[in-house]
Amino acid sequence: MSPLKDAGHLFRFAFLFVIAFFAFLIIRHFVVPKSFGQYGHYRANAIGEIAARPVHFAGHDTCETCHADILEAKKTGKHANVNCEACHGPLAKHADDPSVLPPKLDTAVLCIRCHAASAAKPKGFPQVDAEQHSGGLTCETCHKPHNPALVAEGAK
């Protein structure tokens, strides 16, 4: 008598696994994204998707293509390496459509952020106590932000 005759139920149970395995392979073929595994264990198309996200800061090169005069003024001063958007905020929208104007800046808040005196800041960095320094006058009274060196009265 064949031993398999009394083990038929086991084969039925095993058969469930076989069916499930093939169903799994078929589903997997349709479900796994096509670009998966191209560079590694991830969906390669994700790289392009992330790279395609919108840009909010245009970058100083872009600003300088139109505002070359500001660049000239800045080049010789202490703010030469402070990029435009560091103060003016994200301006890609403005670069795309110059009629979209950037918001007006409040120098009282803006300048203080970097230049408020604090023992925590590097010693060589220019910093002042605003009250003592200007007695309440706004920074722009004496300093032009693009080239902050003090200018003599009456001169340009």
Partner: protein, 243 residues
Amino acid sequence: MNINRRHFLVMLPAAAIAWKYVQAGTPEASPNYTMSEHWWSMLIDIPKCIGCGNCVRACAAENDVPDGHFRTWVERYHVTDYDMVNPEVISPDGGKEGFPTVGEDAGKYFFVPKMCNHCVDSPCTQVCPVGATFVTPDGVVLVDQSYCLGCAYCVQACPYGCRYIHPEKKVADKCTLCYHRITKGLTTACVENCPTGARQLCDLKNPNDPIHAFLKTHHVQVLKPQMATGAKVFYNELDGSVR
């Protein structure tokens, strides 16, 4: 689509950028970008950081970072004398609005900007169960947000605390090294907006990149080197008390 003045003004900056990179000898950058020609890293120059928080604000604006979560943040350390084990560290709202001023000069203070270290042997990539986070061929660790399950295992595995779960998207999120910018020849938002040049984007595969000369002449560290993560954010003059 007709070429009007507005469109020309749009094309002009893109052309200007592309031209600049052609002139710099790297024509592959924007708009034709080849991953295998780049190996991105970052240099953070501690003595130059003034804790203004511009980078934190810029990153949040560029990448729509949700409130209370940070792709980059700045820490302020206060180390008194020889105790390097118990520095006083603060990061009010990640340093987004800068730091409170300190009156008395009582001890050593310095600022440490932090971000994803885009590790070469990144532990977060190792633990992701499905391959939703990965290291690109150009060395940037990214999250595929349409594949991520939001299990947060990667957040637990990061030794630096740079990952978080996006409260609305419910997936892992973190610094992307502004991948959408650097592949177009721009620099990252934080570097663009740092007023003192404390943060610099570096391309280790570019022989002309200033990082090579800098590394030869300065003392540089990475965070938690004992973790052997292959971190690629280099800190100039990082104090031993930094955690």
